[in-house]
């Protein structure tokens, strides 16, 4: 009887360790996406090339609940990931611009560097400037790049950490579009 108890204890501990080894320590769930929370609002200055079309400042709540939004946090110092995904985002924006709003949030960066990055990739979707990175904290951001998908009701649907590829982007866009 006692021997069985010991065997059971060893098996239970072994099972616990094995389960622990299977877990991904880098996996960081997004609180917003898990609970489908309404996207946190913010008002940020629009970067110079986009002011003619979008105005001086951009308030997210003016655009929530109308159509899905792709919110992309990036910085010019984030190499190579931000450089890999920029053309992917631009291509997707051009394909979906009548149904989905793409918004770039330049985070903890210098304005001149950000403008250089924008020119390098010819980004045409609106870009706002958050040198402090305050909005990133509201979104529970770990690092750049991170892309948030906000559905048509203005709720956070998913968060993708790291450079996003076309297949992943399309998958989330299909989820967000009714």
């Amino acid at each position: 009887m006692r021997a069985w108890l010991w065997i059971l204890l060893v098996v239970a501990l072994g099972g616990l360790f094995f389960w622990g080894m299977q877990r991904n320590p880098k996996e960081l769930p997004s609180v917003l996406a898990k609970e489908r929370r309404p996207a946190p609002d913010f008002t940020l200055p629009v970067l110079l090339p986009y002011r003619a079309e979008w105005g001086e400042t951009f308030r997210l709540s003016d655009h929530l609940g109308k159509r899905p939004i792709v919110l992309n946090f990036w910085a010019s110092w984030c190499y190579p990931a931000c450089y890999e995904e920029a053309p992917v985002l631009e291509a997707a924006w051009r394909a979906y611009k009548d149904r989905v709003l793409f918004l770039g949030v330049n985070t903890q960066d210098k304005e001149a560097e950000a403008l250089k990055f924008i020119a390098q990739f010819g980004l045409t979707f609106p870009q706002v400037f958050d040198p402090r990175g305050r909005v990133g904290v509201d979104y529970g951001m770990y690092g750049v790049p991170e892309t948030f998908f906000i559905d048509g009701e203005g709720r956070v649907l998913a968060r993708h950490a790291g450079a996003i590829d076309q297949a992943t982007l399309e998958k989330y866009l299909k989820e967000a579009l009714p």
């Binding site: 609180v31 917003l32 402090r132 990175g133 305050r134 904290v137 529970g140 770990y142 690092g143």
Partner: protein, 139 residues
Amino acid sequence: MRWVLFLALFFLPALGQAEPPPDLSPEVFRIARELRCPVCQGESAAESNSGVAVEMRRIIAEMLQEGKTEEEIKAFFVDRYGEWILYSPPRRGVTLWAWVLPGVALFLLAWGLFAYFRPRKVPKELLEEAERRLKEPPA
């Protein structure tokens, strides 16, 4: 004179190591030490100089100025990052085990040691047998 030189040599490195005073109050760093830096592995928001950690310290300083309590500040970050952001796991739910198990393990160890080294009662028959053998004349 030689002593002055010696002392100077002794204290100069210390002068070189003196850090500039941080621009935020010690209270900010005390709270930041209990929060993880989201970007870096194994650094608190007090030690890291990554953009997010710097911004976290700034937010803590601002919230303290608004008269927020430490609990409210921690709740602000937990609300955004989940309980992962806290260095000490909360004493409830699943993470309660992290607090309870060490105590349980210590108790089991003590109990096991006690049980192992406890003077055992020798059965009566054995004692009688020993007595009898002692009394027997050696063959």
